[in-house]
Symmetry: C2
Subunit: 537 residues, 2 copies
């Protein structure tokens, strides 16, 4: 079903009528107490729409745009906050002070141009909005007083696959299409983009490209970047469109300037995307390790083997316990191969050899290639996968319980990982103790490269009612400072937005920031595009 | 042996004392007459150094830089021309009118800074120079009268591997290191960059990064881009250094702004590069096809199979004949797998199945994985490989024979390939007939992507003494216009330089050019870096 046919929640994940039932929320609370000693505050409910602290709109659309704009209270609220822990807490408190003045729903590129032209004319900030799943305040219209107002530009109507090229396995796809609706359109052709970030249900192609989203594949093609064959954006200065090519060496890649631009250069309206044939063969198993270090060694060997597993996720013992995929005594490495072309016995056999050679044991009997459609959904791998997909709703549940639960993610080379991990873990755990008393920090590898992993940390901690934001800020700051100091990146796939700016400003080359600001000045001379994100005006 | 210890030729490929012996040049001439009906003009020899048309230097280095600069006639000549057909013909005519006024050989980054500072001060153009193998006039100091002169900045002294990280299989490597000297330094560690462009012997890491060079792997990691973990350049505004990371999603990738910048932003002095373990297992075979279309189908199926062969080069029947790998009746697809980790029987068996399923037959008995070190050097695959490596010297031989011989390369998606190929071939063949009367145009696939090939065309044609440059210009223009009109790129891996500007200017988004020019204005406010390349000042 397309995004336009259901009612979005203004607080929390997904659509009205969805979410974790109260009984289950309660049981999550009991589990967390039993497993990690953190106590819930009982279940809160989000505020009523009428009670939100939502400022009066400072701006109204001109008559030429009225038909495609809304100033409805719900719509403004839906377009105010992303889905981070901080966002959810602020939303729970009814703090919608950064609501956009106007939400625009352009139905085509011409209307996108018109909206941007109006914004430039009245000096309103324009915030491109896909699924609103940002966890870095990337879509929050917190633009400052120097703007006449803020317009959230919701791309939901640009939701079609426009053209499919079966020979090249590519399609021209509009930027506002949500994950499920995109896959629905490709499925009858036997094709799939196979880009499944955790936000899959509530995020869009344009958003994935704008934020360098991380997808399905744990190795090889990790970011959406690799699947972009050509991209088209509407900037305040006009159309920016790269040629559709399988590869080129003609100057710095012009697509790479848009990929990761987080709405600061323009609105990504469509892209030619590289697709996959739907896999027919699968081979998968979890491997358990007594020692995390052995699991890391196995992960490294797999990443460097040239086998390129589709999935290869390492969960430390706490992460396995937290997600319900283990009992907390062992680390878990889930290895999955998939192919549309060939059985995978040789690939899988060698991967199993690597895992067992590093001390791993598989709790299931290893078998060869399966052609069963549900092969990816079984056992410990399946348990973890289900928890992953339900992540957005579960996150809401933790906030309703008054527990601090949030993740952060990074990447680092293998040689530095042991010291890096120890430093990040100890800084984060110390901050949890200081700020919260009780809590737990777990780690998984979200993606693996031959030269290093992308560690993903989950923090669960005891909140004090009313002090949650300060508590979490102390933890987040400690973790971010530690990971930047130890050589990591402030984000492997969550993006920079407004939230990560202090650390991003340390990470990126100063001359790059200056050069990017100049480039942006050409495409967006009035400085209206998503101000505050990535760089200052 | 390092580049500093031998004398570079000022005309042609490689070092003094090397090259194709006259008897062999003569025999190439006879072969070409027999195979393609083109007649040589007898063997010419390059002009003597003393007879070159080389202008007086307009500029002299300041006393602080004298020790690291040369104005020697030979050195200025060595740094004047690249290695394209056009360059070789101009060189043969003694046309060295664009010689740099000064050649600088900085020994460290501080000296690079000093050279650039001096250039900015006197408004001289600074041309980063690696191996001088450009075929797109990327290193030719043709900078126009508005500059006080031109300084070729030769990085040959920055030739060391500074640090190796065995765990991550990465190394910090200086930009001026030549291919063989780089591999010599890695070999004792069991590591290899495995980046083998045809220019390997006479090109440098910094040059590869600056030009988005295409390397060893026919699939998956085709360009040098994928191997850059972190990069550092000296710009006129200071150091531009990206963080060493296996992956990141923090804004547009700052490394990608330098990769492909062709010396227009600064001098690439070092990079952390992703390496490979030296392969132990190989499986390889050539497959012959009666019909080129069947070979194309097999190549496409292989590219989309997820098998990721290291080599997968398709030669049409004329290319096979031209390179001596076939008799001109059949197309040839050479498929090679290699691994440091595992035997390749399953990979190779499936690839062979794909090839034979498309009508291919192998002229050799198919065997499984070989661990022999020379496995890549045998049979038809070996013949083609040897011709490839000797390409630079052979190119010289064709020019000495007075034959037009040159290549051009591009990329296109699979769906458009048949019409694209027909259009490019017919436009180029028509131009060959118009300009030369006799000649041949052949095609190979240099690289394969799931969404399309990178076709590489070779032109051999009859030259008229004294008219060669006009003849070739007519052919090049016809080919370039056809491939741009049919949706291709003006270069998959030869770069843009000064030569490809007219077509590049059509290909890249106009707003990208404006944005890039603004970014460049920040890093190089005086506009001294390789002016005329990629964009105007």
């Amino acid at each position: 079903m397309s995004e336009t046919q259901r009612t979005r929640k203004f607080w929390g994940w997904g659509y009205e009528g969805e979410g974790v039932p109260d009984a289950e929320v309660d049981s999550i609370g009991h589990d967390m107490l039993a497993r990690f000693g953190v106590e819930s505050q009982g279940i809160s409910n989000p505020p009523a729409l009428g009670s939100l602290d939502l400022p009066d709109a400072k701006l109204a659309p001109p008559s030429s745009l009225v038909a495609l704009c809304s100033q409805d209270r719900r719509e403004r609220a839906v377009h105010t906050l992303g889905k981070s822990y901080e966002d959810l807490v602020r939303g729970m408190r009814g703090d919608y002070r950064h609501a956009p003045d106007v939400v625009a729903y352009p139905r085509n590129e011409g209307e996108v141009e018109n909206v941007l032209a109006w914004c430039a004319e009245v000096r309103a900030a324009a915030i491109p909005f896909g699924g609103g799943s940002s966890v870095v305040r990337g879509i929050e219209p917190d633009v400052g007083e120097e703007y006449a107002g803020a317009v959230s530009v919701d791309l939901r109507h640009l939701d079609r696959v426009l053209e499919v090229d079966r020979d090249s396995r590519s399609a021209l796809i509009q930027g506002g299409v949500f994950g499920p609706h995109l896959e629905d359109q490709l499925k009858p052709l036997g094709l799939t983009l196979r880009h499944f970030p955790q936000s899959f249900e509530m995020s869009t192609l344009g958003g994935w490209i704008a934020t360098r989203s991380g997808g399905h594949y744990a190795t090889l093609f990790t970011h959406i970047d690799e699947f972009v064959e050509g991209v088209r954006a509407i900037t305040p200065k006009g159309v920016y469109e790269t040629r559709r090519l399988p590869g080129s060496g003609a100057g710095p890649d012009p697509a790479r300037m848009l990929i990761g631009s987080e709405g600061t250069l323009g609105v990504i309206t469509q892209a030619w995307m590289r697709l996959q044939d739907r896999p027919r063969f699968r081979a998968s198993a979890p491997f358990e390790f007594e020692d995390f270090e052995d699991a890391v060694s196995a992960a490294r060997a797999l990443a460097q083997s040239g086998l390129w597993p589709a999935n290869c996720r390492l969960l430390d013992q706490r992460e396995a316990l937290f997600s319900g995929a283990g009992d907390g005594t062992r680390s878990l490495l889930i290895v999955t191969f998939e192919s549309a072309d060939h059985p995978l016995d040789a690939w899988f056999a060698r991967a199993a050899e690597i895992c067992t050679g590093s001390g791993g044991t598989s709790p299931i009997e290893l078998s060869g290639t399966s052609t069963a459609a549900d092969a990816a959904h079984r056992g410990a791998a399946g348990a973890w996968r289900n928890a992953f997909i339900a992540g957005g709703h579960r996150h809401d549940a933790f906030v309703r319980l008054g527990l601090i639960m949030e993740t952060f993610e990074t990447a680092i080379t293998w040689d530095r990982f042991p010291r890096f991990h120890a430093a990040v873990l100890s800084a984060t755990e110390a901050a949890v103790r200081r700020a919260c008393g009780r809590g737990v920090v777990s780690c998984r590898f979200a993606y693996l490269y031959p030269d290093g992993p992308a560690p993903y940390y989950t923090v669960l901690a005891q909140a004090r009612p009313g002090a949650e934001l300060e508590q979490w800020a102390e933890i987040k700051t400690a973790a971010s400072e530690a990971l930047i100091a130890a050589g990591g990146t402030i984000t492997h796939h969550h993006a920079v937005g407004r939230y990560h700016r202090p650390w991003y400003d340390t990470e990126r080359p100063p001359l790059f920031a200056e050069a990017y600001r100049a480039a942006r000045g050409v495409l967006d001379p009035e400085g209206i595009m998503n101000p505050g994100v990535l760089v200052n005006q």
